[in-house]
Subunit: 202 residues, 4 copies
Amino acid sequence: MNSILTNDEKKKRKRSTILDAAIKLYSENGFAETKVAEIAKEAGVSFGTVFTYFNSKEELYEAAILEPLEEIKPYFIEIEERFKGEPLEIIKEMIDCHVQLFATRSEYLRLIQQVLARPERFPKLFKELDAFVKSFIDCIYPVIEAGQRLGYFYEESPSLIAESYLSILNGMRLTFIDEYTNMVWKDITRQALRLFGPISNI
Amino acid sequence: MNSILTNDEKKKRKRSTILDAAIKLYSENGFAETKVAEIAKEAGVSFGTVFTYFNSKEELYEAAILEPLEEIKPYFIEIEERFKGEPLEIIKEMIDCHVQLFATRSEYLRLIQQVLARPERFPKLFKELDAFVKSFIDCIYPVIEAGQRLGYFYEESPSLIAESYLSILNGMRLTFIDEYTNMVWKDITRQALRLFGPISNI
Amino acid sequence: MNSILTNDEKKKRKRSTILDAAIKLYSENGFAETKVAEIAKEAGVSFGTVFTYFNSKEELYEAAILEPLEEIKPYFIEIEERFKGEPLEIIKEMIDCHVQLFATRSEYLRLIQQVLARPERFPKLFKELDAFVKSFIDCIYPVIEAGQRLGYFYEESPSLIAESYLSILNGMRLTFIDEYTNMVWKDITRQALRLFGPISNI
Amino acid sequence: MNSILTNDEKKKRKRSTILDAAIKLYSENGFAETKVAEIAKEAGVSFGTVFTYFNSKEELYEAAILEPLEEIKPYFIEIEERFKGEPLEIIKEMIDCHVQLFATRSEYLRLIQQVLARPERFPKLFKELDAFVKSFIDCIYPVIEAGQRLGYFYEESPSLIAESYLSILNGMRLTFIDEYTNMVWKDITRQALRLFGPISNI
DNA sequence: TATGAATGAGGTTTCATTCAT
DNA sequence: GATGAATGAAACCTCATTCAT
């Protein structure tokens, strides 16, 4: 029954439908080549309605980047709260979690890359993402240091390690196009881990 | 005579000026948000002249991707011809070469990423790049195998190693925005190398 | 309420305003030399509105040809239903009707001629007109035959008579430029009739 | 041998090649949809050369109309000098001559119709053609009068007869698209003649 | 609140014409 | 005289946004 929903809930739901359509289409076609009319169609609303919930195409793009970012943040900045054990264990679990996250939300990763590729075009969003990266590094820094002290990780600048890790996450989205299947992502995880320390197969 | 250049040479030179302007602007602004008028201005020619040398905006984009690709190809598919020594040495030199290459041509790498991010939008170009990646893997495969036999490299699928290497190359372009300076790229090289085998600092 | 008209009626009306403007300007200036902006201005709507109702300039041209054709058709293919009496009477009335029709809609006749003059440029429209001509001949054929049996008409191929009749209708639009006045068209009618049989003045 | 030609002759010949190409293409595609480059190609010269012989596209169009007009004129204004015998004979021969003329030069007739259809667009050319029509009427007028006096022709305004004759000539170009073959044109001639007087078969 | 017709700025592309070689 | 590269005005068309219903 639709009628069980309050008005507010209905509105939230419609807003969310539109946002999901936007994420899908922006990620597939980029900002410029996505038409508001298409988003409306994908969301099953008239395109006037899109402007009821978002003031402009640009604002919708920002929401499409920033709102999922909030959902994803915990997995990157609550490292020690989420992943327990030895540093190596923590990092292993973290990588597993991240790879799985982007395997299921690869379209969102694409969106992020669009912003990273054009800092001057999307300054506000870029700043947000940059801050996010910095927070991640701050969070993971002590873990890496601890791992280095225990001799598990390379004696390398923890920032570099963290950044190269983000690089490989980003890059894999580009390289392994549609093969983000269960089969490969265990492998990917292993390779990502090797940026931290010398990990042989088991 | 205005110069010693023949007519043909002048034409080639003008074409190249336009292509360079296109590479710069396409890489900065993407295909859709780059205006042909801007390319013309950047190249210092009139608007219509762009269409004298390239039939359409799309064709110019293709040329901007494919022509530099030809220049870059040798560094990826003549591995054993170019880089000599032990497998570890070969890979080291190769990574150095590639990182330096993309440090100086980071704008071109951005172009490639635009295509990789949208295979359906640029099918022809994507196919070309995909073939390029496959050739690279074919070339590097025996080197990795040799390195594995000598115990330098991880006992990992050579394809996976090669692909994760390409991932980190691509990803680093996104992560280390404008810091591709001399200082960091030695570090980057080191991290890339760690995808092949367990490399400690020296 | 601004008016009693429903939304749908208003849309139809606007579409029709644009179509009329198009017929006028296309007939005066031809397809290529008519600018969509001019049509919009003539119709009193903005530029973009034209494209709300017609997908392209070409489609608008097709509508400008085909829609009035439907209105005109009955006068050419319902000969025996519309015009009564002896064959001679039927033909007389028919010619009268046609001449008057084209006197009032001379601009539309001009449009038709543009298509007839360029079958390869407008294949779809040409086919339509060609079919129309054939239907007309089919309809008038028995009337001419009957007239021939009664000795009123020349013993000539009815198709030839019909086609020469259409020729003179078309040709007169070109020859008697703006003189399609009441004065001359009785005369024109008489001359057209003489293609059917030997008609003296009365 | 080309070398037998004087320079002047060569130039004339090239000019004529271009003009013929122009007549062909203008008649097929109209003024606006014919590109100078196409004319050049058809004529086998570079398109800069077209502008060596004609100052503009418009001027070339005018030449394409006016120069063949001079060739055709004699057949329309030297009626009594060319065609001998009784008025009926004169008219018969004239019609024969004209139909044959336009059968072989139907493309030129198409050009004329383009101008007749747009007097305001081509005022200069239209005036020229209008004068031509008037001259024709002047020339044929006495012949018709004579025929009327002899009882061969309808007691109709000779101008009307002449104009309706021109109408059918023009119209037949539109109606009998590509069937201007030997078979039909005897028939067409007969129908045209019937605008003058009551002519039975044979 | 939801709709979608109206708007017009802005982009790509064509093509006549110029002019240096 | 012949060529064809350069130019830029002008046209079509798209699409974000507004706003009346």
